[in-house]
Each structure stands twice: as C-alpha cells, then as structure tokens.
Amino acid sequence: MQSYAIKSIFVANDFYVREFKFRITKEQNMFLRKIATTIAISLISTSVWASCAFENDTEIKLLSNSYDAWKAVTSAMEECGNVTTVLDIDFKDKINEAFAANPSLYQIGGISNGTMVPLLNAGSIRPLDDLVAKYGSHLNPSQLIKIDGKIMAIAMSVNNQHLMYREDVLSEFRIAVPTTHAEMVAAAAIIAKYDVVDYPIGGTYKAGWNLGEEFVNNYLGNGGEFFGEGNAPSINNATGIATLNTMKDLTAYMDPEYLVGDSTYVQQQFQQGKIAMATLWGTRAAAMDNAEESQVVGKVIMASAPMGTTRPASTNWWDGVVFATNMTDEQADAAFRVAMEGLDTEMVQANNDTGVWLVEGFVAGSAAAGAIATANNGAAPYPSSLPGMGAMHTALGNGIAAFLTGDKDAATALADIEAAYTISATESGLM
C-alpha cells in the first residue's frame, strides 16, 4: 500500500517538475521536493501504524512451510519490524531440532496438524493460555488448538486436497465434472485423444512424503485402516491393493516424470496450461488466477476431491502457529503479539482467496469452493494422532514407487512397505 502511495507522489512530483520546468525556480522546486518527501514519510509511518498495532523491538524469527498463505501471513508479521521469516518446503526436516535447541533457533513455528505432533511430543512448544488471555481475545474459538485443555497452537486456516479442473477443456468435450477416480480416468481418456493439453492429469506423486500422502488420501477414501492391534501394520489387504491400482490408473495419463513432481511443480504445470485436472492442495487454488504467473486465469474451477468407496480421497489439515518453549517470556510476549498481527482480519481481507481462513473476516469465495465441498463430502482428518503414522507415511513414500514403475506387484509392494514399517516401528519402540 504505502509503496504505491510513495511512488505516485514521486511520479506526480516528477511530472510537475517536467511540465513546469520553465515556470518555477530551483528554490521552488527544492521546496516542492521537500513537501513530497515529508508527505511520503508521514504516509510510511501512518501505514506502519495501520498495519501493525505496535512497534516490535525484540528479535523474532519464524520458520514455516512455503506457499502463498504463509507468504501472506509472514509478510504481515514482518511489518511490525525486527521479524525474520524463513519459508521452506522442507521445514519439517529442520523444525524439530531447531525448536529443541536451547535457546530455540526460532521463536515462532508455522506448522500443520501433522507437523505439530513431534514438537508436542518433545515438549518444545509452550502452552499459550496466558498469552491468549492477554492478547488473543479477538481469536475465533475454533482457532485455539487445545490438548487436554491447554492451548498449544493457534490455527489460521484449514486445508485439504481437492479437484481442480480446466473448465474450458471439460466443457469443450462435454465431459461432466468427475466425482470419482474412475470418472477422472474416463475423462482423461477422452482428453488424451485431442491435443489440447500435454497431460490430462497432474498429480503430486513425488517419491517420498508427497507419494505417501497420495496413498493416505486414497486409502482413507476407500475406508482403509492403517493399523491393527498394537500398532501392527494392516495395509496389505484388498483395500490397499485397490488403492494402489487406482493410483496406477491415474498415472497412465500423467506426465511420465510424475515421480519427481511435488505440489509446486504440479501447480506450475497447471498454471502453464499443461494439465487439465489434478488433485491439489486448497492453498494452491488462488495461484491459478494469479495473472502474474498463470496462463489459465479464470479457466480453473475447484470441486470436491474424487470420492473413494466411502469418502473423498483427501484429508483435512489445519495450518497454524506454535511458540517455542526455549525462549524468554519477553520474547514469547513479543512473538505472540507479532503472530497476532500476522493473523488479523486486515491480512485476511487482503488475501481472502489465498486460503480457507479461520480468522474473522474471511468470506468463502470460488477458490475455497473445492476445499469446502471436499470437507462437506466427509473427508477424514489426516490421522496424525496415530502413533505409527510417521513411520507408516515414510515407508509408504519410499515403497510405492516400485509398484508404479512396475518393479513389484501390488501385494509385494504392500508387504515390503509393511516390513519396512515394522523395522522402523520396532526400532522406535512402538511395536
């Protein structure tokens, strides 16, 4: 905001100087410049006051995932001054150790329901009840993550993976919006006959976490259970095999390099008009209409994630902020106030479509339609409360590729994943 204001003042000043060059003296010109500078400075300070309610003088550092919603929140926090933010898609590999350090390397962590668990288990995030009482009276009750009655995190938005499709492509071939993966494959078969997009389907199938997440979505969508008695694995069954086969059917219409495609890569392929349908995170929806980087503005519609046999093949997540145990109370005070500035109504109004915000002032628009439809169809929350889920997710992420490349059949792949999980779970003492 303020930078536009300053720019326009200087442009106006330049214009004035050029047009009236011969009529005003040098002294008069200097005088005008001074006025312009004064106005600009006063504008900067007032707009800082407008966007951040206090001037922060404590050094605050934040580590979070990297996508548009976090960019919006963290840049709002930075306006308070002395705030350094690190946005990193691999933040989950760093955050546990960074927060375990004493003093913690970051004061604020941007996490999700999945990534909060290890921090909570290690005791490296602090209860927030007193800070919420002091500075958080405006928070929505649903934003308060409570564990055994103690507030441990402040949620900002909810997120899930849902179907995004090119409305122009589907209507050109008179294809109805797919509601199951079988319909998605059928639609892809039609689209593939014509040269409208490079690949009909896109998928975040990068081996590792992303591929594991895709299996979790589809397996839960088919009503599968990950564990039996005593954290023993239970994925090598008919549901697991059906899930794998569905995934393989989809890959037939994907970019052959699907095993290296993460969310950002698929988002970019979508923006460049290379794919027609993809199940992608809700937080990626607004990017489709970002004219600066998208060639498909206005052409992408968000719908519910395709249904599995029992519920949508998707999981519900929430994103939010946590605060390190290992910092002084003064730092915690400042960090919390900074975070509240990042999560205020003003930020939400400026970035309404960037996420499905839980903050007061959010109006659900077309970008949120898919995520909300998926939730309404009954998507399950990501099962992060299951103690073996971490080891299972890793084993799935490492093991599924061998089935998709044809090196193993479905039952062997699942048996090997169970074996890998069993080794990890035994090692960490869960079995």
Binding site: Q143, G149, P256, E257, L358, P381, E427
Partner: protein, 341 residues
C-alpha cells in the same frame, strides 16, 4: 631429524586426526550396535482442533513419549548386537531372492538396490574419468603456449562448481520441458521424458560425474606430462615409434603412479555418490548407499529417526570403500616391493 622434532612436527596433525576422524568413527561404530528409543506412556488425551465446520474435540488413547524433569524426552538405549546391520542388509530376504533366482526380488531390497547402483556408478565412471582426463591433459599439453592458460582455465570450470548446484543445473536442463529435453525432442521428433525411467537417470548421473571429475584427473595428468623425459621421447621417435606407440610405451608408464592416485581418489569419492540422487530427486528409481544413510537419518512425521541403522549403513559404506581400494593398494605395494628388490 631426531625423534623429538619428528613428534613435534606430526603431533598436531595426529591430534586433529584423532579428534575429527578416529573419535567420530569410533562413536559411529558404537552407535551401530545400539538402539535409542523414547519411553512411551499410553494416555487418554482430549484434542480440540478446527475443522471446516467448527471446532471438534476428541478423546483418544494416545501413545506419547514421557517428558522428564529437564524438559527432554526420556529415552533408553539398548545394546542390540548386529540387529541394525541385519535390518540394513536384510539377509533372509536376499537369500530368499537367491533361492528363487529372482533378480527383481533381490533388487527390491533397498541395500542391495543401492549397492548395485553405487558399484556400477563407481566402476563405469572410473575408466571414463581416466580416459577423458588423459585426453584433456594431452590437448592442453599440445595446445600452443599462447592459449594454454585460457584452455586450462576453461577445462577446470566444471570442477569449480559445487556438486549439488551442478546436479540441480543438469536437472533443470532436462526435467519436464527443459531446454535440452526440448532440443532432443525437436531433433529426434519424439516425446522424451528423461526422469521417467531409471536408465536415463543413471546415464545423466554418470555423464554429470565424469564431466565434473575429469578436469581434476586432467590437471593431475597435465602436471605429470611436464616431467616426461624428453630424451626417451626423442629416442622413441628416432626408433620410428608412432604417436600411439609413444603414448603407450613411454608416456603412460611414466604417468602410471598418477593414474593409480586418481583411481584411488575417484573410487573413494564416487562410492559416496549422493549429490546426484538428491539433486535429481531420483529416489523412486535410483538410490545410492550414501543416500540410504541419509534417508535413515531423516526424521519421519513423528520426529523419529533411525540413528542405529544409519550408523550401520555408514560403517558398511566404509567397509565397501576399503574392499574396493584393496586391489589397487595391493598393486601399488607389489610394485614398490618389486622396485626394492
């Protein structure tokens, strides 16, 4: 030099080597025989979290680590013998695969899959590095004096690039519709996906490694070429030796110690192949032993990591390097003894 002076000279470096090489190795060796686990408790926990339709509170039975008075998770460390090694090597599965005479079953085991790639990567790139290194060195040596400086500079450039950055650049040249893939597609008039199957990825990895290491070999060989006895070369020419014979019978024997040196360094380096796997994010198709160690060390979503298996895997990597070096070192030793006699 008396013994005291000798000790004073080598003392600091011996101390450094003990501190930074021997001690870490000893701790890794020790850790490979132990497993550390958190101590768990089972509790009923009420969790309130947001959903799309408002807050939901759930009471669940959870297995969570106990946090001690010092604010850290209480852990217990147990001696487990060779269990970590067994879990890495997975002998029973390997033997079962042998019994079935099934190569694909054998390759389904991470360790053996990684070993297969690591070994073939090392053994295929080695002769290529030596060959290209020698060619570049000969080119530099035969270049006119006036342009020799710039030629050396340009041929050294690949070595200057940080390995991970180099691997990422190759990735961006070839991934999706990268410039080189687009060029190949235009040239061969067909759709090409370099990252869709293992063999193309392996090919790119080997090309990249040879491109990256050959300049090192070249500069070592070039230094060697400066000390070739010119009298011997002249006599060979007078005796009617061809260019090839000159190279085969005069220059190569002279460079032999340097070739052995480059071989040793390259075996050690390329057995630890890692940057290529990470840079190309190739773990779906190709993994290496060093990557396997890294994967054990990466924490899962619950924050658990397999320090024990990672230690075992790095000990195995070290043993592998030693085994590879033995034939080369034995050759050097025999040569040395022969010369003394």
């Amino acid at each position: 030099m008396n013994q005291k002076t000798f000790l004073a000279f080598i003392g600091p470096s011996v101390l450094m080597m003990v501190l930074f090489i021997a001690l870490p190795l000893a701790t890794v060796l020790k850790q490979s025989f132990y497993v550390t686990q958190p101590v768990y408790q089972t509790l009923e926990v009420e969790t309130c979290s947001p959903t799309f339709t408002g807050q939901v509170c759930l009471k669940e039975i959870k297995t969570i680590p106990i946090i001690g008075d010092n604010g850290k998770v209480i852990t217990q460390t147990n001696f487990v013998g060779f269990v970590n090694y067994q879990n890495v090597i997975e002998f029973p599965r390997a033997i079962a695969a042998f019994a079935n005479k099934s190569w694909s079953q054998f390759m389904a085991i991470d360790f053996w899959k990684a070993l297969r790639f690591t070994l073939s990567f090392t053994l295929i790139t080695l002769p290529l590095v030596l060959l290209f290194g020698l060619l570049i060195a000969l080119c530099i040596n035969n270049a006119a004096k006036s342009i020799r400086g710039p030629v050396i500079f340009i041929s050294l450039l690949p070595m200057i690039i940080t390995p991970v950055i180099g691997a990422l650049s190759i990735r961006w040249l070839f991934i999706g519709d990268g410039i080189l893939t687009s060029f190949l597609e235009w040239w061969l008039v067909r759709d090409i996906a370099m990252f869709a199957q293992a063999w193309t990825i392996e090919l790119m990895m080997m090309m990249y490694r040879v491109w990256h290491v050959a300049p090192f070999a070249a500069i070592v060989f070039y230094a060697g070429l400066q000390t070739v006895n010119q009298d011997t070369v002249e006599s060979a020419i007078i005796d009617g030796a061809s260019r090839w014979q000159k190279l085969r019978y005069v220059i190569l024997p002279h460079l032999m110690p340097l070739i052995v040196f480059v071989t040793l360094i390259h075996l050690m380096d390329s057995y630890r192949v890692f940057e290529e796997v990470v840079g190309f994010s190739s773990q779906a198709h190709v993994i290496s032993l060093q990557w396997l160690t890294y994967d054990f060390l990466t924490s899962d979503l619950m924050g658990n990591r397999s320090i024990g298996r990672a230690s075992a895997s790095s000990m195995l990597t070290m043993i592998g390097i030693v085994l590879l070096l033995i034939p080369v070192l034995r050759g050097v030793w025999l040569d040395y003894k022969g010369k003394r006699l």
